[in-house]
Symmetry: D2
Subunit: 89 residues, 4 copies
């Protein structure tokens, strides 16, 4: 999520979103360019995105560009841990 | 939405998603690299993404990578038409 | 390309980038969420991205978030026109 | 980088790209949804993307969808470490 019209620093918004993710109970991993979230259903994903977006609005952000990438796999169970394990260390 | 494990061509999946968008009644504009969708609420957006994802699953796709970019603006009303008009012709 | 720290409107920056693309001679199609560019080589792509980034710096933008998606296909010739034709009208 | 036409698993391609990054000497951090790379210049970035793309072609991939996000900041020095530190732990 990229806030526009709030200056060049976004760290306080990123921290606020991490608080939202913590409260929601989903597994998440912060990264330097994005935060990865592990969910079981699309509904769970949409609920946390909506909550994060609402949080930034409450903080007064007037324009929010959100980039989401979903990896939806049916042929095997995946998780943040399994995905990192498949290519690492 | 990028189907994996189905060969290099994706046009029949893109066409199927456009059918889903048509049925849903949202305004959408196909582009060479992505399709733009105009919605009033996050709920509307999530409903069409979920429907498109379900359609690809029904077609037998085993892994779907979906990239979504949301432009959520509070300080003025925007639309696909207004955004194109602001920078064109 | 999303300028940060310059307010909520980005249309003048988008227009400036379109001028850069025009000068460079590449085929491009503006869209509501992104601009599609047709190039023959990665070098050509990188040259226009670098030029666009330099243009925004000259305009005083202090932070630029750039999202690029490349569709590189070896099994058949593709173009903006062929990709739109494959799924349209 | 998403290989198309090679099945649903991409881990051997991701590993090959990590080998390319190691050889190139850039700092990089694998993540569950993408790999973050730290470079000083656009030229350095473009060189590793081109090398990774060539590696996948050598492995026989016929279509490659590459998503790149660049964070280019002029008002202060940033790094993978500084970005994670700004929002963590």
């Amino acid at each position: 999520m990229i806030p526009m019209g709030t200056g060049t620093s976004a760290s306080r918004y990123v921290k606020a979103i991490h608080e939202v993710l913590k409260s929601s109970g989903v597994i998440f991993v912060p990264g330097p360019m994005s935060t990865s979230v592990e969910v079981k259903t699309f509904q769970e994903l949409f609920r946390v995105i909506d909550a994060a977006n609402e949080r930034l609005k409450e903080m007064g952000v007037q324009r929010i560009i959100t980039n989401i990438r979903i990896d939806c796999r049916l042929d095997k169970e995946i998780s943040i841990r399994s995905k990192l394990g498949a290519v690492g260390p």
